[in-house]
């Protein structure tokens, strides 16, 4: 056996703890979910077997599928706004001084350093009926009664974008930073206006970062739970809320398992789609 293959085996051995961890905390639960999703739940009692009741219910109860697509739509909207708001921030981080870069990085990451409850209560103070925005608008005479800024989809999107922005900005910043600035300088020196340089060079070369950021934010948004509960006043329903409700209130593990697998499949599909697009972009 060659020395290289010896080292490869050594490296594989180093992977063992990680593999064991994944098997115990990911693959085994997934298999259990799969088994449970085919079980039957009747009169509060679960019977293990091979029944398709839960999958049939997903497609026929007229609500689960609707909420699934609602979750996909909400995730797409959140991803869109993260991209729109995150791209300029990443661009600025690329061109500013190291000190300013640190300040911007801190601002972007700061929501992740705060507890979700504290963060949402802070939003309450800003967006609530007697919050800063509504008070100011009423005092300035711009509105006679408080605007509904939370306990609706707007509130949910705002609060989720606030947190997930960092997951968009960081990959974008990495991609933008890896662009050789001499290419842009060459284009400028040949007379290309700055918007042309951006559209022809910066934007296409940052596509891997855009794809990575969008995939990450979309996946995270598909699993968002607590923020819609608090900021949506329970009016904005997502699939994770339905799964939680099924387990916590109905004790219906089989149906919750089927919904969880559906969510997992959707996320898996999104990852495959995203890597396909990245490959396509890479070839071009």
């Amino acid at each position: 056996m060659s020395r290289n293959s010896d080292e490869n085996y050594g490296a594989l051995w180093l992977l063992t703890p990680t593999v064991l961890l994944y098997v115990a905390t990911f693959f085994v639960p997934i298999i259990m979910l799969g088994v449970l999703s085919f079980a039957r739940f009747e009169m509060s009692v679960t019977t293990i077997g091979f029944y398709f009741d839960n999958y049939i219910k997903i497609f026929s109860d007229g609500i689960t599928l609707k909420i699934f697509f609602q979750t996909v739509r909400l995730s797409l909207v959140i991803t869109f706004w993260c991209l729109i708001l995150g791209y300029p921030v990443a661009l600025m981080m690329r061109s500013c001084s190291p000190k300013m870069k640190m300040v911007l990085l801190f601002c972007v990451v700061s929501p992740l350093l705060t507890s979700i409850i504290v963060r949402n209560v802070a939003w309450l103070l800003i967006l609530g009926r007697s919050g800063i925005i509504n008070d100011t608008l009423i005092q300035w005479g711009l509105t006679s009664k408080p605007l509904p800024l939370m306990y609706n989809e707007f509130g949910v999107i705002l609060a989720v974008v606030h947190v997930y922005l960092s997951f968009m900005v960081l990959p974008l910043f990495g991609a933008l930073n890896s662009i050789n600035s001499s290419i842009e300088e060459a284009a400028s020196s040949l007379g290309a206006p700055s918007w042309r340089v951006f559209l022809s060079i910066t934007l296409p070369l940052s596509l891997p970062g855009i794809m990575a950021g969008c995939t990450l934010v979309f996946i995270l948004s598909m699993g968002v739970y607590l923020t819609p509960v608090i900021m949506g006043g329970n009016f904005v329903l997502t699939l994770p809320m339905l799964i939680t409700e099924s387990v916590r209130e109905q004790y219906d593990w089989p149906f919750a398992s089927a919904m969880a697998l559906m969510l997992l499949l959707a996320i898996g599909f999104m990852v495959i789609l995203s890597s396909g697009v990245q490959k396509l972009v890479g070839r071009r």
Binding site: G10, L14, M43, S44, V45, D61, G62, I63, K66, I67, Q70, V121, L124, L125, G128, R129, S130, Y151, V229, I230, G233, N234, F235, L237, L242, E245, V247, R248, E249, Q250, Y251, D252, W253
Partner: protein, 359 residues
């Protein structure tokens, strides 16, 4: 020349990994040992505790004095919200290791526990305090405690005159200033039926028609008592169906709130404190149940704002007004709930509820 260095490096790498794994094992073994033994130690009681002020009450009046008196240790397992995660306990019982020795169950949860054989029958001879308990408070799975009422909480400065009917929630004057409970949606649905049909059942399309009429007025569908408290504190709402104990607590904070028992009827519930099957310390759990249903700890609960089944607990006029259940005149309006129906129709009601929400 390179080989000895390479060998040395390999040796170092291996040594480092081995040392790290060895150290990890050495340091983690006592932890797992202690954890494994804590569950079966007869001197350690594993107890669920709620978050917020009710959790503080439990610690101060129901847990710490017992620890001192019986010289034991207690593990507190914090709960989010007001329901024990019975689905989790069920999985733990199946695995042979429930994390708790006592579990407070809502009455629909008692039926679920019975059907799935999750709770053990208590040994009444080990709970002599049952002799001082009203019969309604004694079940084969344990005593009922924390008697709470579900009526209408309202801001006395902004809701005038004082409400006497659930229908006031639909009053256009309070549009955009009211909320209902999503956490115990069965009570919300029964409340709508009481308001318009005079009976809590059946939950049907007509129920949701009335809810749809209420929807433009709703600020939020709150999911825990803490959420509703916050809505009152921030001035988001002036009225919501709520629990009497929470109102007592908010009044103590200085909020101008009162609890009304609507003329169509209101709800009275309590929790059964049971012992999960396979609990590590059933003897100590019996000991605690016997101690906690005694007049002393139960009087503390009355002072906090919830009722008791202990015959020997005296109420001051203010306490009687707060706990509601001590006033026979008011209790005439209490309605009896069908918890079998609530449990068995829960899935259908939830589907209808979600359809209504996403419509």
């Amino acid at each position: 020349m390179n080989k000895p260095i390479d060998k040395k490096m390999k040796l170092n790498r291996r040594t480092v990994i081995k040392s790290a794994l060895g150290a990890g094992a050495v340091f983690s073994t006592p932890y797992f040992f202690v954890k494994a033994n804590a569950a079966s130690d007869p001197k350690v009681l594993n107890m669920y505790n709620f978050d917020g002020s009710l959790g503080e009450f439990y610690t101060k009046h129901w847990y710490d004095p017992f620890i001192d008196k019986f010289d034991i240790k207690m593990n507190h397992i914090k709960l989010k919200g007001s329901r024990v995660p019975l689905e989790k306990v069920q999985a733990q019982i199946a695995a042979g290791k429930p994390e708790t020795d006592v579990m407070p169950m809502h009455q629909d949860q008692v039926i679920f526990a019975e059907r799935n054989n999750l709770a053990m029958e208590v040994d009444a001879s080990a709970i002599p305090e049952f002799a001082n308990y009203y019969d309604q408070g004694v079940t084969k799975y344990g005593p009922k405690m924390v008697v709470w009422c579900y009526g209408l909480a309202y801001n006395t400065e902004l809701v005038k005159p004082a409400p006497t009917s659930w229908k006031v929630l639909w009053d256009p004057e309070y549009a955009g200033r009211v909320a209902v409970n999503e956490g115990l949606k069965d009570q919300t649905l029964q409340m709508v039926n009481l308001a318009f049909k005079g009976s809590p059942y059946p939950v049907d399309a007509e129920t949701f028609k009335h809810l749809s009429n209420l929807r433009p007025s709703l600020v939020s569908l709150w999911s825990s008592g803490a959420d509703a408290e916050q809505l009152f504190r921030n001035g988001e709402i002036v009225m919501t169906p709520f629990w009497n104990g929470r109102v007592t607590k908010l009044r103590a904070e200085g909020l101008p709130l009162k609890f009304a028992t609507p003329e169509e009827g209101f709800f009275v519930r309590s929790s059964v404190y049971g012992i999960p099957r396979g609990a590590a310390n059933p003897d100590m759990a019996h000991e605690w149940l016997n101690w906690v249903i005694g007049a002393g700890p139960q009087k503390k609960m009355v002072e906090y704002g919830y009722g008791t089944f202990n015959k020997n607990v005296e109420h001051t006029p203010e306490e009687a007004a707060n706990v509601i259940v001590a006033d026979p005149e008011v209790m005439k309006y209490a309605i009896s709930e069908d918890f079998n129906q609530i449990l068995d129709n829960g899935k259908d009601w939830t589907d209808m509820w979600n359809k209504w929400k996403s419509s």
